[in-house]
């Protein structure tokens, strides 16, 4: 029973969902600050997320806190010290949305499978 609900794939898609919605927050902040003097583009660390997934699948290691910091793929620094590139952020947002809907679809599918297992028939 424990394996039914605490499997890594369920928590992995949950982690993916949380990562995508947090990243949306960061991207929204970048877009909101597109003209803010001195603002530097922020992003969440993808390698931290990867470590989090690795820990989930190997079920060991401490919980990983995904750090946010200056983005690696920021645009050129404008005269006011700002380096937000609207096009990069829009593209990142589109990719992030795709990640989010994928995670949501996988999670929904996993719950459907669970329901089928509980009912003992194909719903």
């Amino acid at each position: 029973m424990n394996r039914l609900f605490n499997g890594a794939s369920l928590s992995a898609s949950e982690a993916m969902l949380i990562f995508a919605s947090n990243r949306q927050k960061v991207i929204a902040g970048n877009i909101a600050n597109v003209d803010t003097a001195g603002y530097k583009t922020q992003d969440l660390s993808e390698s931290d997320f990867k470590r989090q997934l690795d820990n989930l699948f190997s079920s060991k290691g401490k919980p990983v806190v995904i750090r946010s910091g200056p983005a690696e793929d920021a645009g050129a620094v404008k005269p006011n010290g700002n380096n937000v590139d609207l096009d990069i952020e829009m593209a990142k947002m589109a990719r992030n949305t795709a990640l989010h809907s994928t995670a949501a679809a996988i999670l929904a599918q996993q719950f459907t499978l669970l329901r089928q297992a509980i009912a003992g028939r194909v719903l």
């Binding site: 929204a28 003097a37 609207l86 829009m90 947002m93 809907s101 719950f111």
Partner: protein, 133 residues
Amino acid sequence: MDSLEISAAGMRAQRARMDLIAANLANVDTTSVRTEMRDGEVRHVPYRRRIAVLLEGANGLPSVQVVEDRSEFRSEHQPGHPHASAAGTVRFPNVNPMVETMEMMAASRAYEANLTAAEVAKAMHQNTLRILG
């Protein structure tokens, strides 16, 4: 902080910027907002262009600061103008309609980007809700 709120703050900042651009354009020919005494003569002071400077405020959200453009006024020789100086010079606002139009395009583009971000956040919420079946 919710991502919708962040996008709303971005839209608010761009709208404030747009308000100032509209005020600048509306006052492109306002030759007298007040008078001052200089060298024993009453001089009319034209409208001074205002610009929005966006600064990083609380929670990493942009906050708008209104500053005056310190560049020089445009001077034209129009002795018949009611606001002309004794020498016949009229000072016009330091507003350049071309610059304002460009600023307007930038503000509108940034506003749209924030709007798109808000719509994406909404769609993501919907997607999450759909997990419920």
